[in-house]
């Protein structure tokens, strides 16, 4: 079952919804605004009644997998349960109804929440201050790199290179580049950790920072993190922490103590703000004292219980987003932290590590395990061993969908061929892990006996495997003017009016 587009369901007979009437004597637009500044014809929006709209979206919703119904072991994404209380908190009128330009006196509760969240995040990652402004992890990375650039600049140093491990997430090099740095790649060793030798060879007086996540994207803790920090700092560079993997060790250790100077956090991973099918998230950045002067403006300050927004930050990198960040997500994360407490967060990380190692154990004979364990909160397996049967990681992923599991992250990190990256999180029960492992076993068995059938997966979903290559061809044709088919949007066949 697929669902038509809202545009295809549109019926000209539908009246617009009842809306307020202009109950004042003001002029109509056409009486005042010059004709050429006015729209020539109405936008081609669909016309549907409220019941039709609700049914349309209900049906669309039912086409989605989500953690509310399915295990979602998407490595690096920390798809853990999103407590429903978080949603209630964010929708309280005392938060949702605030205009960002209200006077400070009238938003003391909101500022206090931000201030407390900042303090809590400082405690978790071991830093001096945190900016809540960045809207997502990547945005946080870039923000941190802008601060690092400003820091070096303030000392008259011209450091133009950022080092990024080959196992890093794509946002790391992209953020570095957008921040004006050249990106040098650092190799991983056979044990899945960064090669100290290679790092040594890339570090130079031009190095502005090393970006690292720890545990790295292979789910392995960088045992030599203290040595790495020393090496980086010795060259005058800074150490940046990609906090996507923070769920591995809350209450167990802290990036700040490892020597990281700047740390972004994904509230939409570790702190249970829902992912929304692709955001909004929030990517606060914590920094050690040296970087504090460069934090985005404004910061939230507290004196004698009174809260203010401090815009007087002469060395600030400026603003990275309008207003004060994704406030609604901050409310959710704060609610989660209050409910969990220090004890709960610690337990969460311990359980996350336990789940990952347990699941790893269950499937270690079925898939290749390119690196030795124990892992932290996630592990990366490889479908290389199915190569001889002509089965790829993608086939395994699609076959899992047919068993009502979302697929793990595949083909990332790039350093593992046919990577299958599994992050079960602490909120899944043993029963779920067991049944996921059984599914893997069945699929691997089928790969041996009937590999062809796996290429046809999925077969039980609203659509079968979608042909992305053909799609790309059609898009190219459209963009090159070789086709009128607006494949990146709907468009009325005739004249655009609906």
């Amino acid at each position: 079952m697929t669902e038509p587009l809202s545009f295809e369901l549109s019926r000209p007979a539908v009246d617009p919804p009842r809306l307020p009437e202009p109950d004042v004597s003001g002029p109509a637009p056409a009486e005042v605004i010059p004709h050429e500044a006015l729209r020539s014809r109405p936008p081609g929006l669909p016309r549907l009644s409220e019941p039709e709209i609700m049914r349309h979206y209900s049906r669309l919703a039912s086409l989605n997998y989500s953690i509310s119904e399915n295990f979602y072991p998407l490595g690096s994404c920390t798809m853990k349960y999103n407590p429903v209380a978080n949603e209630l908190a964010a929708s309280l009128p005392g938060f949702a109804g605030l205009h960002p330009y209200q006077e400070e006196d009238s938003v003391q509760g909101a500022l206090e929440l931000m201030w407390r969240l900042e303090r809590a995040l400082c405690a978790v990652v071991g830093v001096e201050r945190v900016t809540l402004q960045p809207a997502a992890g990547a945005h946080g990375e870039w923000t941190a790199l802008r601060m690092i650039a400003a820091f070096h600049g303030s000392r008259g140093e011209n450091r133009t290179e950022v080092l990024v491990p080959d196992s890093a997430h794509g946002t790391n090099p992209a953020s570095a580049a957008l921040s004006g740095f050249h990106v040098l790649e650092v190799k991983s060793g056979a044990d899945g950790r960064i090669s100290l030798a290679d790092l040594e060879s890339k570090l130079s007086p031009k190095t502005a920072a090393l970006m690292l996540t720890n545990p790295n994207t292979l789910g392995l803790f960088e045992r030599e993190i203290l040595d790495i920090a020393e090496m980086v700092h010795a060259t005058g560079a800074m150490l940046y922490y990609d906090g996507a993997n923070l769920n591995a060790f809350m209450g167990i250790c802290r990036p700040g103590d490892m020597g990281f100077d700047a740390v972004h956090m994904n509230l939409h991973k570790t702190f249970t703000t829902p992912h929304g099918g692709g955001g909004p998230g929030a990517g606060p950045v914590g920094v050690k004292a040296e970087l504090v002067p460069f934090l985005p403006s404004p910061t939230v300050e507290r004196q004698n219980g009174h809260l203010t927004l401090d815009y007087k930050r002469p060395q600030s990198i400026g603003r990275v987003r309008s207003f004060y960040g994704n406030f609604g997500m901050l409310v959710r994360a704060y609610t989660y932290i209050l409910a969990m407490g220090g004890d709960g967060l610690t337990q969460a990380s311990q359980d996350a590590v336990l789940s990952a190692n347990y699941l790893r154990k269950l499937v270690e004979d079925d898939l290749e395990m390119p690196h030795e364990g124990p892992c932290m909160h996630e592990f990366v397996a490889s479908a290389q061993n199915l190569h001889e049967n002509g089965v790829r990681a993608l086939d395994v992923a699609k076959a899992l969908l047919d068993k009502e599991f979302y697929a793990p992250t595949v083909y990332f990190p790039l350093v593992v061929p046919e990577a299958i990256m599994v992050e079960p999180t602490e909120t899944e029960s043993k029963a779920t892990l067991d049944s996921f492992a059984s599914a893997i076993k069945e699929i691997v068995a089928r790969a041996r006996t009937d590999p062809q059938s796996l290429h046809a997966e999925p077969t039980n979903l609203p659509v079968g495997r979608l042909d992305e290559v053909a799609a790309a061809r059609r898009i190219n044709a459209y963009l090159q003017g070789a086709s009128d088919d607006p494949v990146l949007r709907w468009k009325a066949a005739s004249d655009g009016a609906s």
Binding site: L5, S6, A89, H99, A110, H139, S179, S322, L488
Partner: protein, 417 residues
Amino acid sequence: MLEKIGVESIDDLLVDIPQSLRLDGLQLPNGLSELETMAQVAVLASRNKVYPDRLTFRGGGIYRRFIPAAVAAVTSKPEFYTAYTPYQAEASQGTLQAIFEYQSLIAELTGLDVSNASLYDGATAVAEAAMMAFVHTGRNEVIVSGYLHPEYVQVLRAFGEGRGIKVRKGGEPNKKTAAVIFQQPDFLGLLVDARALTASAHAAGALAIACVDPISLALLAPPGEYDADIAVGEGQQLGLAPSFGGPHVGFIACKKELVRKLPGRLVGIAHDAQGRRGFVLALAAREQHIRREKATSNICTNHSLCALGAAVYLTYMGPYGLRQVAEVSFRRAHALAERLKSLPGWEMAFPERQFVNEFPMRVPKAPAVLRKLSRKGILGGLEVGRWFRELKGVVTFTCTEVNDARALEELVEALSA
């Protein structure tokens, strides 16, 4: 589980962590029951003052508007809000199709060819558009013409600094100009000559970037009609609560020729072996996870759920509902302006300029006036002198469909008292 793994304790799984780093828990209070958690959160919420929608006349980028109940009824569906970015297309058709519809709606509204799947906000949307122009033209200067939202300018500067893009305020475009950026209506609510600005940009070989108010597009010529290359804007008005400034959604749409430079996600049509239509993430080769440091942007998590909310809003309104919303706001703002300018000492700050539903007034003793209104439960206009020295004493007032005739009366009465 420990047994199956073959270890005795969790600590055996944490052996890779240097002992010196190990903590004994966090310096945070212990957890609370949901009851106590919500009580504490509610206390914070109660320490904020929420002005009634109808008595809110402040805008400056965030507006009170009627939000149909249908919007939250859709966005609060766990199938939508607890899904991840739709990497596995076949199990994510709900999100993908909804985003495809959002893209189509934004394209229709702006009159441009293609929209992306969403950006963080209006400010970063302006910055991303500027970066597109920088890459497309190979030129490294952008001109901000007129009153662009001051926070958007700040964000543009911060982004520009990283990539070596100079941000110039005003002036004529020339050979170094990658783009002319203008806001329509501008930050003060006033109409600019979008057609002329676009033409002058094009004459210099630069792109024209229009930062637009999405509701106003039901009335005003859309960027596509005056040939702007990129349209961006803040989508908060499309069904999203003010929420102290976020999360909302930045939108961006452009001409066909620029699509490969678009930041972020893009959803396109694909088919399965049986010829059934489906939707997939398209043109991924632009993106960070494939292109890494050469990507058009670093965006990964964007603002999908807010885009979904905007799509529901626009679908609920339809072409004529949206027009009515815009027109009611227009008429009320003009009626209010008439009333306000008859107050002693008050005058239109730019009497010769047209506006839609936000307008700047010179207000004697503005801070005291606004404090007085606040005491009466009215959130008065916005003092824009905070950002623009030349606008000291200027206050912008906003009207939308939520400010009924009686609310306008109450405002005027409070001011006259």
